[in-house]
């Protein structure tokens, strides 16, 4: 035991004594302690860190961490219907292969020359998303859809010079919390209603709330409650009428079959890339996109990096680099737009690969398959006495609200019964929306087979009986 203590650590080459001594000699220091000369004694931590002893060998480390992970029960081992902003889709093996490549995984911020691959793959990504969204400008991803939304709204405020945004009530409480925190310093957040029957944006409520001070109207397709707005152009027109921008959050996995928001008047389109090839990873698969038309008043308001294409000193060679870098906080500190930093580039590369793999046909088929499966699920559930599915009449894609309120059983109780059968029921909405007590949001995608959906229906039938 003791004998190994002097062993160099595999991650710290110069913890080997020979190197250490040679280097100390070279720099003329007696020990590493001398190098901390600028840290006053009063600031020195002289205790022992309250951290467990090292598991220095890989087998010990793996045994420990895998032991912890074994306490989880994953969606691979269960049948999952949770969505609500993080969706279980199939992840092609090629996506994982690409984002596991050491070069992509461990690169960071090299130049366009030595990191050409990063620049090109993110340009490829933006270009693929541009087609999906029918937009000419797409950012290098920001952290997640929440951030993309909040930034999209701040961009709108800067572009219009106004300081109020109208947000559909059919967004998640969490996202609304993020928006409020992020806009608080300068921008008022007002809500407008959704129609209690269809779940679509309530145009009357919007008209009532909108004014000349409105910078942006924000709504989603599908909404948090799963509903696809059929009146997108009316909402956008209402915004445009008062000089506001239409900001739309969209699930990109829908766009093989559903119209891109640009087609119904969106000026700024935002959302999350997680459905496009990222594992859920307990919420670790998120990345935010922001897309606009190619107009300087939009482009110059992005805080994110934007990669553009150019020529190089070699004829026929593609080069890539930063567009309008002087916008950023890297260049201007507090004078830049919000800030830029490490975000979620690897998921941008992955989403690009996903779109390239799926192609136009694949994205269409994905959408069709999901529509059929989710509608089948709703139909099956609707046959269960006391269960209403979908709760709203508006069109839906992969998610829909299931109303258990007439079963006489709480969502908690029903879901506990499902859990015992290895099924993760959808997100309980009871406390999130006063009007949706006894309701839950179910997500059905291409990963669910008919057998899975029948199993769900049977289990619910038993649970509510």
């Amino acid at each position: 035991m003791g004998k190994r203590r002097s062993t160099a650590h595999p991650y710290i080459p110069n913890s080997a004594r020979a190197a250490k001594e040679a280097m100390l000699r070279e720099i003329g220091a007696a020990s590493e302690d001398d190098l901390y000369e600028d840290i006053p004694e009063a600031l020195r931590f002289r205790g022992r860190l309250a951290i467990p002893e090292a598991l220095a060998s890989e087998p010990e480390l793996r045994r420990h961490v895998e032991g912890l992970l074994a306490k989880n029960r994953s969606c691979a081992e269960s049948l999952n219907f949770l969505g609500a902003g993080c969706t279980q889709h199939f992840v092609p093996a090629v996506c994982d292969e690409i984002n596991a490549r050491a070069e992509f995984l461990t690169a960071y911020a090299g130049e366009p020359y030595d990191d050409h691959g990063r620049f090109q793959s993110l340009f490829d990504y933006a270009s693929l998303m541009g087609e999906l969204l029918n937009m000419d400008v797409v950012n290098v991803p920001t952290y997640d859809g929440f951030q993309a939304t909040a930034t999209g709204l701040r961009m709108a405020a800067r572009i219009t010079g106004r300081s109020e945004v109208l947000v559909s009530r059919a967004v998640s409480a969490d996202k609304l919390s993020k928006i409020r925190d992020y806009l608080r310093p300068r921008i008022r957040v007002q809500l407008f209603d959704f129609d209690p029957v269809t779940g679509e944006p309530d145009l009357a409520s919007l008209e009532e709330a909108i004014s000349n001070e409105t910078a942006a109207v924000y709504f989603e397709s599908p909404s948090y409650l799963g509903v696809i707005p059929s009146c997108g152009d009316d909402v956008s027109a209402t915004a445009h009428d008062v000089g506001a921008l239409s900001v739309v959050g969209v699930d990109p996995s829908t766009l093989g079959v559903l119209a891109p928001p640009a087609d119904y008047g969106a000026d700024i389109v935002v959302g999350d890339l997680q459905p496009l090839g990222m594992h859920m990873a307990y919420g670790g698969g998120h990345a935010g996109f922001i897309a606009t038309r190619d107009e300087p008043r939009f482009v110059l308001e992005y805080p994110s990096r934007l990669f553009g294409i150019t020529s190089t000193s070699v004829e026929g060679e593609y080069g890539f680099g930063d567009v309008a870098f002087e916008r950023t906080s890297f260049a201007l500190r507090e004078g830049g737009k919000e800030w830029v930093g490490t975000a979620a580039a690897l998921w941008g590369i992955t989403a690009g690969a996903y779109l390239a793999l799926l192609g136009p046909q694949g994205m269409r088929e994905l959408g069709e398959t999901i529509l059929q499966r989710s509608h089948y699920a709703a139909k099956r559930l609707a046959r269960i006495p006391g269960v209403r599915a979908p709760r709203f009449r508006g069109a839906f894609f992969h998610e829909f609200v299931v109303d258990f309120s007439r079963t006489g059983k709480s969502v908690t109780r029903i879901h506990r019964a499902l859990l015992r059968r290895g099924i993760f029921g959808g997100k309980d909405l009871s406390s999130e929306f006063a009007s949706l007590k006894g309701c839950a949001l179910y997500s059905v995608t291409e990963v669910h087979t008919k057998g899975d959906l029948d199993r769900l229906a049977d289990a619910i039938e038993e649970a509510v009986a």
Binding site: V94, G110, P112, D181, P185, H279, G367, E446
Partner: protein
């Protein structure tokens, strides 16, 4: 029979690497499209479902349907993979090169075993809304990891929610705002003080959070200016947000006095500990009196940088600020772990769910693989490496390490090539690009560009003496070449994947093109206008 090692030894000690980066000359992905090719197939709906629901898409309102399929390319799986594998080779990556040139970014070794653990389906296939009972393992990891950070900072409560360092800085600014608001001083306390050699995000994020920014410049020795700080604090001061050691590698020995002065006027102090690698277990936020701090998991805690994320960060606060942390927080009742949402004073959500779980898991594993002694060894060797490289660098003619002459540096050094530029007309950027011809590079540092012709080197603990010797030899060669043959340096890189960009489109709205479709359109427009002009 040739003695190749002897020949190589005669070619230099250390010998310059005869390098060329992979160059695949790949088209943009749209150019790979071939009609009808497919990359992956989607499961077909079973007949039983089709029979039950028919053609659902057709039944939706016309207005919601996409008119034409998106103009994505059609490419076989093999070709998509080949494209991205080739692009991957056209990237350096910390795994591939001696990545000490991205100073301030703490490019260190990201152990592969931690990646393996993070990719386990036991984590990858967890939905963040699963019943707590089914996610006890990952909650335990989060809870324990917060404990490690408490030990490393001395602060009382942590949240792992922020998606990266800047998001953490923003969250801390939000907490400062919430704190003053809770005391009815929101309108009064509008100023955040920072230093110019603190990372730019301290200024930018605080500004985004609604504050006015007061920036302190260094004194003649390069230390944050104590007089300037005294002049800056007032009843308008909301807080101090500061990096230490600063991006120059210089540690502010009066940090405690700075903190006390801000406290004196009622402000809070947030410690940007993204530069903590060199001081792990050596000095902490607590001893310096800070109220808040943050760590970057993708820097100090070795999680990979992913071409610029996903990353992760942690914010820590003293007891009195704990109630403002983002929701939810992980709690432990002695038996089970929970997510506590019932926190009325919280600033709310910073990002979806509870943080970037795979990054947290990697950071957890990294700490466990080192233990308390290993963490201190990380810091000590990082500082040793930095001062060794400093010594080697200063032997090169034309470079200097401005400020704090003769003093040791902590985690990195901001160097200046001003002398060499004066002498040769070759700029720091050129030198960095020429270094790329030998398989390494450096960048010219982010704002502030006060240090002339800067570069920032940060060797961390991950590189060996031989690595640092090689790096220094390359830089020496390039600097000497700048005198001997400046043209070669100014036109570099010559052995990277690609060559110097034409920068002109990048700031010109008529030419810039951020997507392929925009590029094609502008080419058409230019061609059209060209024709019209002709």
């Amino acid at each position: 029979m040739k003695d190749i090692p002897a020949i190589r030894a005669a070619q230099g000690a250390p010998r310059l690497r005869d390098f060329h980066q992979a160059r695949w000359d790949e088209p943009v992905i749209f150019e790979l499209s071939a009609e009808g090719e497919r990359g992956v197939l989607v499961p077909e709906t079973e007949p039983g479902i089709e029979r039950a629901v028919g053609d659902v898409a057709a039944s939706l309102p016309r207005s919601v349907l996409r008119a034409a399929p998106p103009a994505l390319p059609e490419i076989s799986q093999n070709r998509v993979l080949r494209h991205y594998l080739r692009l991957s080779q056209e990237n350096l990556g910390a795994d591939l090169n001696v990545d000490v040139g991205q100073g301030t970014c703490t490019m260190k070794y990201s152990p592969k075993v931690n990646d393996v653990l993070a990719r386990s389906p036991k984590l990858a296939e967890l939905h963040p809304l699963q019943d707590e009972e089914t996610v006890q393992g990952i909650l335990e990891v989060m809870y324990r990891f917060e404990g490690f950070l408490k030990a490393l900072s001395g602060l009382d409560a942590f949240s792992l929610q922020p998606g990266a360092g800047s998001a953490a800085v923003y969250a801390n600014a939000s907490i400062i705002r919430a704190y003053h608001a809770s005391r009815g001083e929101a309108d009064q306390r509008r100023e955040i003080i920072t230093t110019v050699f603190s990372h730019p995000s301290n200024a930018a994020c605080a500004k985004t959070a609604g504050f006015d920014i007061v920036t302190l410049h260094p004194d003649a020795d390069g230390y944050p200016d104590w007089k300037a700080l005294q002049a800056a604090v007032s009843e308008r001061t909301a807080g101090l947000m500061i990096t230490n050691p600063e991006d120059t590698g210089i540690f502010n020995p009066r940090i405690r006095e700075f903190v006390d002065a801000v406290h004196e006027v009622g402000g809070l102090c947030a410690y940007d500990q993204a530069n903590a690698n060199g001081i792990l277990g050596i000095t902490r936020a607590k001893e310096a009196g800070f109220d808040l701090c943050h760590f970057n998991l993708h820097k100090t805690f070795s999680t990979p940088h992913g071409c610029g994320g996903p990353a992760g960060a942690a914010i820590g606060v003293t007891r009195k600020l704990a109630r403002f942390l983002p929701v939810p927080v992980v709690t432990f009742d002695g038996r089970r772990y929970h997510l506590d949402y019932d926190r009325p004073d919280s600033i709310g959500k910073i990002r979806p769910w509870y943080g970037v779980a795979p990054v947290i898991l990697r950071a957890y594993a990294w700490v466990r693989s080192l233990g308390p002694d290993g963490l201190r060894e990380v810091a000590r060797v990082a500082v040793l490496n930095n001062n060794y490289l400093l010594k080697k660098m200063l032997e090169i003619r034309g470079v200097s390490a401005p400020y704090a002459k003769g003093r040791r540096r902590i985690e990195q050094v901001r160097y200046s090539w001003a002398d060499l530029t004066r002498e040769t007309g070759v700029h720091s950027e050129d030198l960095g690009l020429r270094a790329a011809d030998f398989g390494v590079h450096y960048w010219t540092s982010h704002h502030p560009w006060i240090v002339q012709e800067p570069c920032t080197l940060e060797p961390t603990e991950s590189y060996s003496k031989a690595d640092l010797d090689e790096y220094a030899a390359i830089i020496r060669h390039v600097a000497e070449e700048a005198r001997r043959d400046p043209e070669t340096v100014k036109t570099a890189p010559h052995r990277s994947t690609v060559h110097r960009n034409d920068p002109s489109p990048m700031d010109d709205p008529r030419q810039w093109a951020i997507t392929w479709r925009a590029y094609r359109r502008k080419l058409r427009e230019t061609a059209g206008s060209g024709r019209r002009k002709a």
